[in-house]
Symmetry: C2
């Protein structure tokens, strides 16, 4: 009987993991920590190590947009071969939002059960730091990665809130497109070292992958 | 010196609160628990009581869409008059997503500091129960309350994922609009009594306010 728990670690502050996530980490025999070159491997590790004495297995994930399924199959095999009765796979933020877990989930047939423990996402974490509501009443929210320039002009003015993620590119162009209708907030690495939550300014744009633009429509008459 | 912590309790399972949220509840002297007629007052209370021995003050919020600011001002005054050095205000889910807190936040000038502690939202909580990614790679997500029928046809096919919230109305109409292009999942009261996470079926539609439709585009060629 092998069980896998997929645990959302939250935005980065070790205390923003869920109670359930922390309890499972304290019991797990092995914890899988995925990383991509250039991201916060040490961050996820430091959260895990706060709660767990388990064996740690780090898993290098390819960064490319088009990943060879064979690479993912190989990672799945590594997880299966190193798993124990109670194993955990951790992701920063929430496992359902842009996480690595669902890239390998099809290759984990060795487990008798897999349960996802949701976490606080970086999106609401940044909103809490900015002290702003992402939505009230019947407002609508669009969450759009920064390379989807096509979508920005299409959804302009239909959504009270537009959140542009993965802001290492294009935020300058997107802010130009939206600035007449929306108030723009630039949020970077919320709850992490290097945190910055400020009104958008081209001069402060540091093209960080872990940054986002939170855009709130002005003079909302739809709500 | 009066401090207010606004704590996201998560979707309903008491163990899905954050460690930080639970720690603040254990120290708070008074905890404000908002409720609206017909919602889960007892649920929020039971989570609070698991972690806290504080005095509990329940706050009735008006349910109407257009609320008289005087009502909110009165609630703000009640919070201020009953607050202590370390006070907490709790919301189910995350405080930045459709919560009561931001309706009264302008009337809380009595506090020297207010900090928001983010929580797991019902959206990712339902995704975890459904064992599905809301977004991978550069997919985009639209979050739309069910009374915004105007938006559904506008965003159709532009977003890989459409989440329709507050599903006590219109989900039958919306599913008709989307069913040819999207796979539809009906998720209701995730992590609560009465939980239901099933493929959409008109026969199972119980018009529950705490329900949502999660729509994933088929044959995605944009990602």
């Amino acid at each position: 009987m092998r069980q896998l728990y997929v645990i959302g670690l939250g935005p980065g502050d070790p205390n923003l993991i869920t109670v359930r996530g922390s309890e499972i980490l304290s019991k797990a025999e092995v914890v899988f920590v995925p990383y991509s070159t250039g991201t916060n491997r040490s961050l996820a590790l430091s959260i895990v190590e706060k709660y767990s004495k388990a064996e740690i297995v780090t898993l290098g994930f390819p960064m490319k947009k088009d990943v060879d399924p064979k690479d993912l199959e190989r990672i799945g095999e590594e997880i299966c071969s190193k798993s124990k009765s109670l194993s955990a796979f951790v992701t920063l933020g929430d496992p359902s939002l842009y996480s690595t877990f669902f890239r390998v989930s099809n290759y984990l047939g060795c487990f008798n059960s897999v349960e996802i423990v949701p976490g606080v996402s970086s999106i609401t974490a940044c909103a809490s730091k900015a002290f702003m509501p992402l939505a009230l009443r019947n407002e609508a929210i669009a969450i759009i990665p920064a390379d989807r320039l096509d979508l920005i002009s299409k959804v302009k003015q239909d959504f009270e809130t537009i959140i542009v993620l993965k802001g290492n590119e294009n935020l300058d162009k997107i802010s130009e497109e939206l600035k007449d209708d929306y108030d723009l907030l630039y949020a970077r690495r919320c709850y992490l070292d290097g945190e910055k939550v400020i009104p958008w300014s081209e001069n402060e744009y540091d093209k960080d992958y872990f940054s986002m633009l939170i855009c709130k429509v002005r003079n909302n008459e739809k709500g």
